[in-house]
Chain length 343, copies 2
């Protein structure tokens, strides 16, 4: 008998096939190939003119702006979903509501190395990417038009990436998206009732049972959530309460880099380098410091197709119980950066 499970944060129910869950080999897996040709790649060193002028770089000691020598480079998206100039101009149209599509849309080029991935980069390079996320978030929060900054990554064409060279994206929005608002509000209701953060409670319970724990280090833990929408979905959370990504203690980013690299290496090992998305869930601008919301990263490999049932109901059918996916991921044979860090 399949199981209906409810995600305690979003209230979303999912259908979990518990009988004989789909194992890694049951999925039609498409490995994300190594990018073929660096010559015309807009994110490769030497091709800096192919992108709009850079907003932030790390690592360049000599040379002018938009020249090689950088280790991480942030540029405006050449085909932005939102425009950076102008006012909001809210307006009605009969029954309907609209506003100008004002916002920021940036690309974080994670490395000059055309064939590297976040899983293959050295820990130190991954840490630089995490610092770039933070620095851009902090800078964009000064723009009074913005209410939310989303950092996300589309890895592989199947996950929506249109450029092969490894990169993440950032979108700053003039409104708090409904899905974020609902998640934050739901955590607030839980806190209001119990005086505890729901994510802190979940982490406590998951560490007790252990069956959905994928890995942990001093500061972070990776879990398969109890009611995942997708097979092999993972959540990476700080173990001590923290409400916003950009306000982490500076020592945390090195630790997060190791944990994220470890997690992505497990994903690559178990599912043969699949396409995936990840999203940083953090508190909205203006409510960064709070006791009820717990920032985290959600990682979803692209293994199944979203179809009519999901679009019609918001329910998801997940063919792999999280207890099974956690076991595969936990037991993956990798040269974990966590092991090295402990020495």
């Amino acid at each position: 008998m399949p199981e209906l499970r409810k995600d305690p944060i979003t209230g979303r129910w999912v259908i979990i096939s518990t009988e004989r869950g789909k194992r890694p080999n049951d999925f039609l897996r498409e490995t994300v190939p190594s990018p073929p040709n660096a010559k015309n790649c807009p994110f490769c060193p030497g091709n800096e003119a192919k992108t709009p002028p850079e907003i932030l770089v790390y690592g360049r000691s000599n040379g002018g702006a938009n020249t090689p020598g950088w280790t991480v480079r942030v540029v405006p998206n050449k085909f932005p979903a939102l425009g950076i100039e102008g006012d909001l101009d809210r307006e009605g149209e009969g029954l309907f509501d609209k506003m100008n599509g004002v916002g920021a849309h940036e690309v974080i080029v994670e490395t000059p190395d055309h064939v590297a991935t976040l899983a293959s980069l050295p820990e130190r390079a991954v840490e630089d990417v995490l610092w770039a996320y933070r620095d851009r978030m902090l800078d964009l929060k000064n723009d009074k038009r913005f209410r939310y900054v989303l950092i996300f990554k589309n890895h592989g064409e199947a996950a929506g990436a249109s450029v092969d060279h490894t990169h993440s994206q950032l979108i700053a929005l003039p409104i708090v998206p409904r899905r974020v608002r609902e998640e934050v509000d739901s955590c607030w209701h839980y806190y209001d009732e119990k005086e505890r953060c729901i994510f802190c409670d979940i982490i406590r319970q998951e560490r007790d049972t252990g069956e959905r724990v994928i890995g942990e280090n001093d500061h972070f833990i990776t879990l398969a959530p109890y009611a995942p929408r997708f097979p092999f979905e993972m959540w990476l959370l700080p173990k001590v309460h923290g409400s916003s990504y950009e306000n982490n203690q500076s020592t945390m980013y090195a630790s997060l880099a190791r944990m994220l690299k470890d997690t992505l290496m497990r994903l690559d090992a178990v599912l043969d380098r699949p396409a995936y998305n990840f999203m940083i869930h953090t508190s909205p601008i203006g409510e960064e410091i709070n006791d009820h919301y717990h920032w985290h990263i959600e990682i979803i490999p692209k293994l199944t197709k979203v179809a009519g049932f999901e679009w019609g109901t918001g329910f998801y059918i997940n063919p792999t119980p999280p207890e099974e996916s956690a076991r595969f991921l936990r037991e993956a044979k990798i040269a974990s950066p966590l092991a090295t860090a402990k020495k």
Copy 2:
């Protein structure tokens, strides 16, 4: 400048690229191919034993159950997402909530013709499919465990179909999905304030401006919604208020068959027979007759990939303004069944 538009029913914002919207030829289109081989098709006449025993058939005058001669055939899904036997058994698991995955999961085989589609079938055959939807809904509503019945269709592999032979699906659920609840409640709030159905108001406004109207006949209208999630998304609605699909006047189904066929033919003509999903949105069980909810069919062609931004925010980026998609669809050259019906 792109535009942020809000869907008045769900409160969901979308980003619409208004500058130079993507036209039909700008999408990497994958035509759903004609199914190659009928020999082992579980939905073809003669292969009735390859499915679980039938629940409903139309058109068979002689011969026993599960033999050829039918025109529409409904069977349980061989790999059901939910199990039909057993009780709900709600249960807690520490912080978490679960229940048995009780529900119905059925397949509506729309025609014995292995290579037909809903767009190519004669109107009369499409009407039979619509009657089968209704009859199954009415039957399942007698099961006191169920609270919602969703009818949906995945057409083409890219839209999640795993069998080529044209078919729809039905899932009966023991809970009202959150997304359905939100939509119905939002309509109720509008009604509570204005004493009018929001969909009726939308239809009125859209017929006035005309720019997002794709087609209409006596009873139905097809629109490009004001804030569509996806390029070339369409909504097909009854013009006179009706709160549930299964309670339509019996004369309506022939009219709906013509309108649906017309709409799908336009989609095929403009986008070269794309993969698509459609979902029937109707009132939950036990609240079928009401003044605030307006049943309708949502049709979403599979042209873009849902990526990290959408998963992180619930926002959608739509590269085609609905005014443009409506124009392409409205002006499509097809041998419309509506034209014939008028004569």
